[in-house]
């Protein structure tokens, strides 16, 4: 890969403080192109932007700008490019990986005012929205037409669609309905050069390279999104869920594989371990079986005929796999009750522990039993508890490590615990992040998942879009220097086929 300009190094240190003179000059220029109320530079105004939902990582930005129009975004980016100022785009600030944590010498570009649904075409089943629109607001607007936007991250009440683009967000139904990348048709973006590009279209295939796929999940490091065209799907007429108990977590994992082997792709398939059900039950009173080592929630949706047929097939598989108890939701409120514990697992963790640290690795499903045993060992090793919540259908783990942020050693152990889980994910043939992104949080784990040459390929993509390295610098892809410092070897994806091949 060509490394003429090296955007990996420029501005990678997001803690580097600007000198006050430069800060004054930058704010001055921004105030020339934006109304006074759109440029925040006093500490008390900037404070709400110093972190996102990963609050362990904080940094005060040099300034915050809140444009109202795409033309203003273009002007802001041109000014930042001219003055060599890093830009961190921000949606609702719900990132769990520090993706929108500010840069000390940079500007936070808040897209909060881009909050309008520009068009909703029920006949074409598409909506054109601005990036600050909340995920759930799209489905709410589509509801009168019996349509909805499928990806449903658990923060969907608050998270913005622009942030979903940055992270390629998933949700509990993505096994059947896909991730953000499968549900977005087109983007309008502004490059760091201030050029407006239309990527993708309302048609299904577009000419040229698939830049839509590259932009989705690029964590704000390639361009700033100003408009999004999403696909809308017909809302399923009915959804029902089965709640099944297992006396052994590995049996529960086997049941998940058996359902897939039966040719069923459920709308959702979630697992919680006993520690999690014990934590959530007093909180939500969902009626979970507290004697079970693990419970599975398996959802079927579609027409009433379809759901009835699928539920009976799921039921048979669960019986065969030795579940100790099972219930099928008889109405919508019961179905929502089944889900309430899963959706409240994070707050419940916050209820039983001062703080929790959420991991997001993905593994092949067959490795689940081994992973859970390894996590149990790590709980002893690091002297910290861990609740296991799992998007079982697609192998995405969310272990919640319980710690106390007031005790620096507890946080240090939590970080090491998390990193060890993620390294095991790579060793088992999985990935360090399924849906939360790398951000600032998992930079070191990237060194384990990718070789230096592969990391250079990511920087090659970055260079093609942003040769000065100004968009969200220091996030997403670690510098080779950082990996050298981290000192852990790149693991070549576990027991995968080429393990015996010589590497040149």
């Amino acid at each position: 890969m060509n490394t003429v300009a090296d955007p990996s190094i420029r501005h990678a240190d997001f803690r580097a403080q600007p000198d006050p003179e430069r800060m004054r000059a930058v704010v001055e220029r921004l105030r020339c192109i934006l109304p006074a109320h759109s440029v925040l530079y006093r500490d008390e105004d900037k404070r709400p932007y110093e972190c996102d939902a990963l609050s362990a990582f904080r940094q005060m930005p040099m300034a915050v700008v809140l444009p109202d129009t795409e033309a203003q975004v273009v002007d802001i980016l041109k000014v930042c490019r001219e003055l060599d100022v890093p830009v961190v785009a921000r949606g609702a600030g719900t990132s769990l990986s520090g993706g929108s944590m500010p840069h000390a010498s940079g500007v936070v570009l808040s897209m909060a005012r881009f909050n309008r649904i520009l068009d909703l075409d029920p006949f074409a089943r598409t909506a054109v929205v601005q990036p600050g629109v909340r995920n759930l607001a799209i489905s709410e607007a589509a509801a009168p037409h019996a349509l909805y936007y499928a990806p449903d991250p658990s923060s969907q009440i608050a998270c913005s669609i622009g942030g979903n683009i940055a992270e390629n967000s998933g949700g509990v139904h993505c096994l059947k309905y896909g991730l953000t990348v499968h549900n977005v048709l087109a983007l309008r973006v502004v490059t760091i050069d201030g050029e407006v590009l239309e990527i993708g279209s309302a048609a299904l295939d577009s000419p040229g390279l698939d830049l839509l796929a590259v932009l989705i999940g690029s964590e704000g490091m390639l361009a700033v999104v100003t408009e999004i065209t999403v696909k809308l799907l017909p809302r399923p007429q009915l959804a029902r869920a089965v709640l099944a108990s297992f006396d052994d977590i590995v049996k529960a994992g086997d049941a998940v594989a058996a359902i897939i082997a039966e040719g069923i792709i459920p709308a959702g398939m979630e697992m919680m371990d006993r520690k999690t059900t014990a934590a959530v039950e007093p909180f939500v009173r969902a009626g979970y079986d507290l004697s079970a080592q693990a419970i599975l929630i398996v959802e079927s949706d579609g027409t009433p005929e379809e759901v009835e047929e699928e539920i009976s097939r799921i039921d048979a598989v669960l019986q065969r796999c030795g579940c100790t108890a099972q219930r099928v939701s008889q109405n919508e409120s019961e179905r929502l009750a089944f889900w309430s514990g899963r959706k409240n697992a994070f707050p419940a963790a916050g209820r039983i522990s001062p703080d929790y640290y959420c991991m997001d690795g993905t593994i092949p499903r067959k490795m689940l039993g081994r992973m859970l045993r390894a996590i149990a060992d790590m709980e002893r090793k690091y002297q910290l508890g861990c609740m296991n919540v799992f998007h079982a259908g697609d192998g995405n783990l969310h272990p919640l490590i319980l710690f106390d942020a007031n005790d620096p050693d507890s946080w240090r152990r939590a970080e090491l615990f998390g990193a060890e889980i993620l390294e095991l994910c790579v060793e088992y043939g999985g990935t360090v992040t399924g849906e939360h992104g790398i951000g600032v949080e998992k930079l070191s784990s990237m060194c384990v998942q990718f070789s230096p040459e592969e990391l250079k390929a990511f920087f090659a993509v970055k260079t093609a879009f942003d040769s000065q390295g100004l968009l969200n610098p220091g996030k997403g892809v670690p510098t080779l220097a950082r990996c050298a410092e981290y000192g852990k070897m790149h693991v070549h994806r576990g027991q995968l086929p080429f393990i015996d091949l010589p590497r040149f």
């Binding site: 890969m1 060509n2 074409a124 089943r125 998933g170 993505c174 990348v181 499968h182 279209s201 309302a202 048609a203 299904l204 295939d205 577009s206 000419p207 040229g208 698939d210 830049l211 796929a213 590259v214 999940g217 809308l232 007429q237 594989a257 058996a258 897939i260 082997a261 579609g302 027409t303 005929e305 379809e306 047929e309 092949p364 192998g395 995405n396 999985g430 990935t431 992040t433 399924g434 849906e435 992104g437 790398i438 998992k442 990237m446 998942q449 040459e453 592969e454 990391l455 390929a457 090659a460 993509v461 093609a464 879009f465 997403g476 892809v477 994806r493 995968l496 086929p497 080429f498 040149f504």
Partner: protein
């Protein structure tokens, strides 16, 4: 794969590496080719043959993980046969146009078949891939799991890139179970009415898995749970007096459409255009005959119209036009890109393939 096969694979990779490194040194373009089933696709260009077929074999397949990983030169037919044994499929139904298509070629060409509008395209099923860059280094992106947001999505960038960014060496594809039930219906219907029906149905919970409009009729396939398919059949019968196509004939019909064996595609006199349009786009007034798939979003056009007129009409409708086969190819094959987008393509090409050896010019001239 056993140890001997893996040794053989290592030898093949070494030989490909030697070829690539030499080509890069001499700045001598390479023409990446698998089974050659899509030789006709894209622009003509000169390059020494780089045959991927020796790089063949299925590396892993576990039905319950819904993933298959195969070397690039593995025949598509071999992959599909193995999946069928386990009641699974490549849901995007990639066409091979009757030729010996390979898995690498399927991903590089990025073409999907009749089921695309309901399940997604090739790119939606690419979980990860391995490639070799212009320095002969092996790189891996993505992986074998459904959810993976570590790093930029280089695997999907390589999908449909017509080989211009590097040599794909292996791919991991998501697979799906074959539907429990499937049935096809047809009834007489003009094209404009068919577009209205298909878009209306698209917003309703009907298990449509494919559609084709042409020669005065609308043909629709339903796939899913037995009960859902039965319900759709009785509704079609009631609302449109639709006739059920016998299963054997239906399988033949969809295969012929996918592989371009259907009568519509046999006319070699005129240019065959592939128009990708919003499904609601009106029919327009371009001369020639159309065959419409994907609920209205894919329109094959046989026409003698001026290429500039076809492209202008596609752009005006919010889509694009690709000169699929035949016709005057002097003005390029793929839909022209706006200047800033083309410049970005050039920068990506420069970053990934600085010596310019991988399929230069196959997608766009100078790329």
């Amino acid at each position: 794969m056993n140890a001997d096969s893996l040794d053989a694979v290592a030898d093949v990779l070494q030989s490909l590496r030697t070829t690539i490194v030499r080509a890069a040194r001499d700045r001598a373009p390479l023409r990446i080719r698998g089974g050659g089933s899509k030789d006709f696709l894209g622009q003509q260009f000169d390059g020494d043959l780089l045959d991927t077929r020796p790089l063949a074999g299925i590396l892993s397949y576990e039905p319950t993980e819904l993933v298959i990983t195969a070397l690039a030169g593995t025949p598509l037919a071999q992959v599909e046969a193995l999946l069928a044994e386990h009641g699974q499929m490549l849901a995007f139904e990639p066409p091979s146009f009757g030729g010996p298509a390979t898995v690498g070629g399927v991903v590089a060409a990025g073409l999907s078949g009749p089921r695309r509008a309901s399940v997604g395209a090739v790119r939606d099923f690419v979980l990860g891939l391995g490639c070799m860059d212009a320095q002969g280094r092996e790189l891996q992106f993505g992986g074998q799991v459904m959810k993976n947001v570590a790093g930029y999505d280089v695997s999907r960038l390589m999908c449909g890139a017509m080989g211009i960014l590097g040599l794909i060496t292996q791919v991991s594809l998501k697979v799906l179970p074959r539907p429990a039930a499937e049935a096809t219906i047809m009834f007489g219907c003009d094209a404009s009415q068919a577009l209205t029906l298909l878009n209306t149905w698209g917003g309703q919970p009907l298990p449509i898995s494919a559609s084709v409009v042409g020669s005065g009729s609308l043909v629709v396939r339903f796939s899913g749970a037995r009960a859902a398919v039965d319900a759709a059949l009785s509704r079609m019968n009631h609302d449109h007096a639709a006739r059920r196509v016998p299963d054997d004939a239906a399988a033949q019909l969809w295969a012929d459409l996918r592989e371009h064996r259907a009568a519509f595609f046999s006319d070699t006199g005129r240019a065959l255009w592939r128009l990708s349009l919003p499904s609601t786009a009106p029919l327009g007034s371009l001369p020639g005959e159309q065959c419409i798939e994907w609920g209205g979003a894919l329109r094959w056009l046989k026409s003698d119209a001026d290429p500039a007129d076809v492209r202008a009409a596609a752009s005006a409708a919010g889509g694009s036009a690709m000169l699929f086969q035949g016709g005057d190819r002097s003005a390029g094959v793929f839909h022209p890109l706006p200047a800033p987008l083309l410049a970005l393509h050039r920068r990506l090409k420069q970053q990934f393939d600085a010596p310019g050896i991988f399929n230069p010019g196959r997608m766009y001239t100078d790329l």
